[in-house]
Amino acid sequence: MTDKHMADQPKNIVELATFYIGDALCGMDILKVQEINKLMQMTKVPQAPDYVLGILNLRGQIVTILDLGRKLGLGETDISQDPRNIIVNSSGGHVGLLVRRISDVVSADMKKRERAPANMSGIQGEYFTGVYKTDDNLIGILDVDKVLSIED
């Protein structure tokens, strides 16, 4: 479902799960989140792209963990700082997105969403479908499909 599609809906309040990638506060539709985990024991996958941290066993499902920091060009997420895994169910199976810290759930009116800047705290604008301003913050709304895409 694209955001454009949502914007056409009469009621367009979306709950955003927000989290920090580096210093950027990002958000995604909470309905896309299956669960949020602490970092569990992972198996390294030699040969994998550098943003793939490893794979782990989530109740019998093999989940690929992506370091969002790396994937979005901010550098490695510090594992010692108790990062979290956001497990999303993407088309190619379960994927875990490692983020620095989880923040609040924010109800956002998609009508008030604005175009993403070319760069937001070091993350390229192309990864966002837009930004949403709250009273004290700017939330970049992640384009999850884009983030999960595999560039060649």
């Binding site: 024991q41 198996t43 390294k44 996958v45 030699p46 040969q47 994998a48 792209p49 550098d50 793939v52 794979i55 782990l56 066993n57 019998g60 499902q61 093999i62 989940v63 690929t64 992506l66 088309s91 190619g92 199976g93 379960h94 994927v95 999960l148 595999i150």
Partner: protein, 966 residues
């Protein structure tokens, strides 16, 4: 067309397809029976057609109804024996049933299909106006033209919808026929399967021009069925087990609440049992008889044989063998391909067969059976077989291998060239050998299934292709290994053996050829790959003492451990650190000698080739469940998937054929390397000229001694107290008898044996008796060049001296020592009596050709000792000249192999070719009698081989030949 009730429609489709599957084989049986109409069979087909007609009418599928009605009419006439089912009539019926199948598979568009091309001939048959067999290609073609236009655009590719057309053109374009199978495929299927094509050619490309065989071969896997028939009893038992599981769960919850450990254990066992049973039962639901695939082959073979004007019998064995559904589905295309190959290229034309005395009817056998937990499918034909030489020549022409590589290949490897990507395009191969349409794709497909393909072919006598498949893909036994601190699983089907090379043997058994490392394994050379290098994991080793994984520090030891050898250059490794290390030759040979540096090698095979995978540690073998990797890891070609281990962690499953590819190792490389190694070994032998293996030991602390290693039987460690002094002789108990012990200082003027508590006994066998030489360590075995000084230190018991590591080492002549100490041992030995010969003339003369003065003198001494005359030659050429000069005197030649100017082989060859000397006995002496050398020697005409300095054997055979001579 809108059809209201999807469920009923789905039911109709499934039922009809089942009917149609039966109809096909039944029609073939009817054709076979000809005028001998089997009423039951016809009835069955009739009823099937009738059911389809009825269902279609109910659903409003008029086209299907119409066609099945016409079919039914014809069948009705056959049933009432108004019509005799000629092949032509059956053909029309078969095509009608094909058309029915196509329409039913695309039910929503079926009413728009023009079926007149089928109905007309059917009605003509029914009317009795069917005279000219409509099978004539021309006629077919024109009739077919219409439906092409009318088929809805959704259909994949209308051109392919017409099997008749492709059939007719089959001879020119064998591959188009393949597409017949693909035609019902919805579009996405086609594109998907395109990916693995090595030379991608869109399958929808019109078949008019050279469609490379690979494209056709690419036929998408059979359409995946979404539903499955399972026996109700099986479902019942599943239901039962599920119920049990729920009960056990309740029990478990209870026991957890009550803290009752013993009960918990019992519940645990129960759950364990139920889970296993459940798993088994579920696996059973997925098992399907391979007959589902085999059943279509009678038709395929019949049609193709007809087209090619061949007569071919197809025998099918083992229809009941069951395989996992996914395998059944994916095996379809490779099998079709192989069967078609057999029919098209394997079986000769009837006339040709007759000429070479084969029955006119070709035979293709399709066979499935269980073997060692796997299913084997064999496709064999009695056709012309594969010509390895022609295949190799063709591969060379195509630039796939070099002529040298081809030469180094075994016959089997040559036949397996057919699997090389890019090897086969129909035309090119047909010219040469007549085989090999897209076989590489067959192999790729089967590899994906975890299967193995093997070809056994004898030129002129047919080909057997055997495919080994796992019973199921879901659960596979695997060997678990560890590298870089992570566990990996290697499927047992790929596993040949596990090999551990102790640290102290690594040096001897692992060799380097070019950039590759190989290990000697029972006489063959096995290429080695280090797993950590290929996948780019950290190089580690497992420390058995500390039970821990440690980083392999060897790369920091500057001299030999550069990581960047071309073999291990791996573009997939994203880790850049590897590229920083200097490009230095690396080698497994290293300096560490602890148990941890032993090499653990998993010998894996990928069908045609075998290689060794070096891993840190070997663990258990386990049954694992394969889970797919996420799409972010699809680019990691080295893995076939992942699995969850007992401790909840994940292990990656290795794909051994891709690993080989990543390491740039192909079987071609393998043989290439083997050839190089063979050459290197030959060079080494040449360089080894007059090398002598010596066992080095000491008698006193100061003096070093050596003895030819090949004379040593064994070495024992003893205590001084083990020695008994009896009757002035030293003996010890040894293997149930007593062993006479001697010391170097008993005979030679050397320092006495050191007064050590721990002694060594070097056991020799002299005059058929064991004798022990007392010595002290350290002992060592080494190879030295034979720069032996036989004058300076020569004395009784010492034959000469040699400088090893700056120590003058005296070489012991054990034979002489024993002769000195126990002369009585030799009394009973058969002595060669020269007196008779001497009466008739001078003593026999032996020619000795040997470039090393030391050995020449030794051998000369042996000879003169017993009274022979000796003529010496310093090399082969001189030996030849001496022979020419003293031809009449010389009775025997004793020659070294490695000599300058002319070596022993050449000398022998020259002698054997010369009428004058060809009967001269020749004894060859070598330092190391390798089997190859012996073979070669025998081939050129050497009578016997002896190891240098093995005086006894040499003399026995010299006597023997001399005796025969007189």
């Amino acid at each position: 067309m809108e059809i209201e009730d999807d469920e009923i429609l789905q039911g109709f489709i499934e039922e009809s397809l089942e009917h149609l599957a039966d109809i096909e084989n039944d029609l073939l049986a009817i054709e076979e029976a000809g005028a001998n109409i089997d009423e039951d069979l016809v009835n069955k087909v009739f009823r099937a057609a009738h059911s389809i007609k009825g269902g279609a009418g109910f659903m409003g599928l008029t086209a299907i109804q119409g066609l099945s009605h016409s079919t039914e009419n014809v069948l009705g006439m056959i049933r009432s024996k108004k019509l005799i089912p000629t092949p032509e009539i059956v053909n029309v019926l078969l095509m009608a049933s094909d058309q029915l199948q196509r329409m039913i598979e695309d039910v929503h568009n079926s009413n728009d299909v023009d079926i007149s091309s089928h109905i007309n001939p059917l009605d003509a048959i029914a009317d009795g106006t069917f005279s000219q067999p409509p099978m004539e290609p021309e006629q077919k073609n024109t009739v077919q033209a219409k439906p092409k236009v009318t088929v809805k655009p959704e259909a994949v590719e209308p051109v392919f919808e017409e099997p008749e057309e492709t059939e007719e053109e089959y001879i020119e374009e064998p591959e188009t026929d393949e597409d017949e199978e693909t035609e019902p495929e919805p579009e996405p299927e086609v594109t998907r399967t395109q990916n693995p094509v090595p030379e991608p050619v869109a399958p929808v490309q019109p078949p008019a021009v050279n469609v490379p065989a690979t494209a056709a071969k690419q036929a998408p896997p059979a359409k995946t069925e979404t539903s499955l028939r399972v026996h109700v009893s099986l479902l019942d038992s599943l239901m039962n087990l599920a119920g049990e599981l729920v009960l056990s769960r309740n029990q478990l919850l209870q026991t957890i609440g009550s803290d009752d450990l013993r009960n918990a254990e019992a519940v645990g066992q129960r759950i364990d049992l139920i889970t296993s049973e459940l798993q088994e039962a579920i696996m059973l639901t997925r098992m399907q008889p391979i007959g589902n695939v085999f059943n279509k082959f009678p038709r395929v073979v019949r049609d193709l044989a007809k087209k090619l004007n061949k007569t071919i019998d197809l025998t099918i064995v083992g229809k009941d063998v069951e395989l996992d559904k996914t395998i059944i589905e994916s095996i379809n295309d490779p099998l079709t391909h192989l069967v078609r190959n057999s029919v098209d290229h394997g079986i000769e034309m009837p006339a040709d067969r007759k000429k070479i005395g084969k029955p006119e009817n070709g035979l293709v056998i399709l066979k499935a059976y269980h073997e060692a937990g796997q299913v084997v499918i064999e496709i064999s034909d009695d056709g012309k077989g594969l010509d390895g030489e022609a295949l190799a020549a063709s591969a060379v022409n195509k630039g796939l291998i070099t002529a040298e590589q081809a030469q180094a290949m075994s016959d089997k490897e040559k036949v397996n060239l057919i699997f090389l990507p890019g090897f086969s395009t129909a035309a090119a191969v047909t010219d040469v050998s007549g085989r090999g349409v897209g076989m590489d794709v067959v192999k790729t497909n089967l590899d994906q299934l975890g299967g193995n393909v093997d070809i056994i072919s004898e030129k002129g006598n047919g080909t057997t292709i055997s495919i080994k498949l796992p019973l199921t893909l879901a659960i596979i036994p695997c060997q678990i290994i560890e590298t870089g601190g992570e566990r990996y699983a290697i499927p047992q089907v790929n596993l040949e053996e596990l090999l551990r090379i102790p640290a102290n043997q690594v040096k001897d058994r692992v060799e380097r050829v070019g950039d590759a490392e190989v290990v000697r394994l029972r006489g063959t050379l096995l290429p080695l790959i280090r797993l950590s290098d290929v996948i780019g994991a950290d190089r580690t080793y497992y420390d058995y003492n500390e039970q821990d994984v440690k980083e392999d520090r060897r790369e920091q030891i500057a001299d030999r451990r550069g990581r960047n050898s071309p073999l291990f250059n791996d573009k997939h490794s994203g880790n850049n650190h590897r590229n920083q290390s200097p490009d230095r030759p690396r080698s497994v040979i290293d300096r560490r000698s602890s148990a941890s540096s032993a090499l653990n090698i998993v010998v894996v095979s990928t069908g045609a080739m075998k290689y060794g995978l070096i891993v840190d540690r070997l663990q258990d073998s386990e049954e694992i469940v394969i889970k797919p990797l996420g799409r972010h890891l699809q680019q990691c070609k080295g893995y076939a998937g992942a699995t969850i281990m007992g401790d909840g962690r994940i292990a990656l499953i290795l794909d051994v054929s891709n690993l080989a590819r990543m390491a740039h190792l192909t079987s071609i490389d393998g043989s290439d390397r083997a050839a190089e190694v063979a050459k290197a070994a030959e060079d080494a032998i040449n360089a080894k000229k007059d090398k002598q293996s010596l066992l080095i030991f000491k008698n006193s602390r100061e003096e070093h001694f050596g003895v030819p290693l090949n004379q040593v039987e064994r070495i024992e460690k003893i205590k001084r107290s083990d020695i008994e002094d009896l009757g002035g002789r030293r003996i010890m108990k040894y293997r149930g008898g007593s062993l006479s012990l001697i010391c170097v200082d008993d005979v030679a003027m050397v320092a006495p044996l050191a007064d050590d508590e721990n002694l060594l006994v070097i056991v020799f066998n002299i005059a058929k008796r064991p004798v022990g030489l007392l010595a002290i360590g350290p002992i060592d075995a080494l190879e030295v060049t034979a720069d032996i000084d036989d004058t300076t230190l020569s004395q009784p018991g010492i034959m000469g001296s040699i400088i090893i590591d700056n120590n003058t080492t005296m070489l012991i002549n054990v034979f002489e020592m024993v002769q000195n100490l126990f002369p009585q041992w030799f009394e009973h030995q058969e002595k060669f009596d020269l007196s008779q010969i001497e009466e008739t003339g001078p003593p026999p003369t032996v020619l000795i050709a040997e470039d090393s003065k030391f050995f020449r003198n030794q051998v000369k001494n042996y000879m003169t000792e017993v009274g022979y005359n000796v003529i010496e030659a310093e090399d082969g050429l001189e030996g030849w000249n001496q022979l020419e000069e003293h031809a009449d005197e010389i009775s025997l030649l004793v020659t070294d192999i490695e000599m300058p100017n002319m070596n022993g082989f050449e000398l022998t060859q020259r002698i054997r070719k010369n009428e004058r000397y060809k009967n001269l006995p020749i004894i060859a002496l070598t330092t190391l009698a390798s089997a190859e050398d012996v073979e070669r020697g025998k081939a050129v005409g050497v009578n016997e081989y002896h190891i240098k300095l093995d005086k006894e054997r040499l003399m026995v055979s010299v006597h023997d030949y001399i005796k025969r001579r007189y």
